[in-house]
Amino acid sequence: MRINKCLDSAARAVADIHDGASVMIGGFGEAGSPIELIHALIDQGAKDLTVISNNTGSGRVGLAALIAAGRVRKMICSYPRSANSTVFPELYRQGRIELELTPQGTLAERIRAGGAGIPAFYTAAAVGTVLATGKEVRRFDGREFVLEPGLRADFALVKAQRGDPYGNLVYHKTARNFGPIMCMAARITIVQVSELVAPGGLDPETVITPGIFVQRLVVVAQPAQESRLVKEGRSYP
């Protein structure tokens, strides 16, 4: 009867992601990108997705493959182009994918606010730029700020280093990035970990994501490295 959030496959973990769902996908470039969960989502077939992720992937694997498969209706991100990123730019120029561009810190804070029950907050980022177009501007202490809404999603796909059956997580170096806040902001958070430990196997002082923010856990012991797959010219499926 104890809580155990582990599932035996990525396929089962993503089985109920529905057409039209909003999906947060962790990672900054390849660091922290849950590539096996993304591939399971490609296999699963859900379409018309709104994907919230800092980048748009590279090559034709992982997030780029999901976009290439035509499953993503809209991207909410801060940096949709990078080295080896061709899939998104092509579809975008063809008008086949929508883009909501958000400054990176605003994106992170919107996700954190969504997870923290804050419907909106003010930030100075983007004031006086085209990215503030149409947004409420308000003055505090003589300085201008824009109102930004919190961001939630139906699902989050996140990669972590180690987890326990309650969903407690620790991450690896700069692969932490958007993981902890996306875990907070989704209705169903699905995490792939390289290693599973028993409850008590993580020092409670060092847990980065408390288990309450995680609904499903899958072990992927040897996650693929996106940049290596890209180098090898691989594509998924």
Partner: protein, 230 residues
């Protein structure tokens, strides 16, 4: 059948046990100070229930053995507690992100007054010389998915705590889901208060006499009368 202030019903432990029985496996639960703390005796990690304390611990365990207290491992009532294997510590903003963000399934709180609409007053008498102290109560009722109130049905002097409208300053409006008292289990519904269960020996009439708002009986109510098979 008794009618007057002497209506006894369930003990505090039985009240806590009754509330605990309604907490499903998988739930994350925050327990208020006082009678709600007793709930932890009747459910917990083996039943798939994990307790959060808003001062920064998910996976709160029972009180430590005497002599093993750590003054820096405490609950929101500032009493010494323990941490279960699989616990996590975090700071106050992260803790209330958990609460405000709707991640806690149930909180069990004490009450000074609950209204028929589910308004809760549990932080201040509003008297001029009272020292107002709200703590996390307003954040909890605003953020937690379901709010259970666990309280004696009346004050020590027999004044109803369940009322048509609260006279004390509110903690939150329309926030209470269910009320567990020594006399009954009562559901707050859009159509008013519905009695789901009566303590042994307590009739609806007696309950109504001790209640400041209209009650009606649910379609099915378990038979808790003293003579019923248990």
């Amino acid at each position: 059948m008794k009618t007057a202030p002497a209506a006894a019903g369930w003990t505090r432990e039985q009240m806590a046990q009754r509330a605990a029985a309604d907490i499903p496996a998988g739930a994350y639960v925050n327990l208020g100070i006082g009678i709600p703390e007793l709930v932890a005796q009747f459910t917990g990690v083996d039943a798939g229930v994990i307790f959060q304390t808003e001062n920064g611990l998910l996976g709160m365990g029972p009180a430590p053995a005497p002599g093993h207290e750590d003054p820096e491992l405490i609950n929101a009532g500032k009493k010494a507690v323990t941490a279960i294997p699989g616990a996590a510590y975090f700071h106050h903003a992260d803790s209330f992100a958990m609460i405000r963000g709707g991640h806690i399934d149930i909180c069990v709180l004490g009450a000074m007054q609950v209204s028929a609409a589910g308004d809760l007053a549990n932080w201040s008498t509003g008297e001029a010389d009272a020292i107002p102290a709200v703590g996390g109560a307003m954040d909890l009722v605003a953020g937690v998915k379901r709010v259970f109130v666990l309280t004696e049905h009346t004050t020590k002097t027999g004044v109803p705590k369940i009322v048509s409208a609260c006279t004390y300053p509110l903690t939150g409006r329309k926030v209470v889901d269910r009320i567990y008292t020594n006399l009954a289990v009562i559901q707050v519904t859009p159509a008013g208060l519905v009695v789901r269960e009566l303590a042994p020996g307590i009739s609806l009439e007696v309950l109504q006499q001790h209640t400041g708002a209209p009650l009606r009986l649910a379609a099915t109510v378990p038979d808790n009368s003293p003579g019923a098979a248990s």
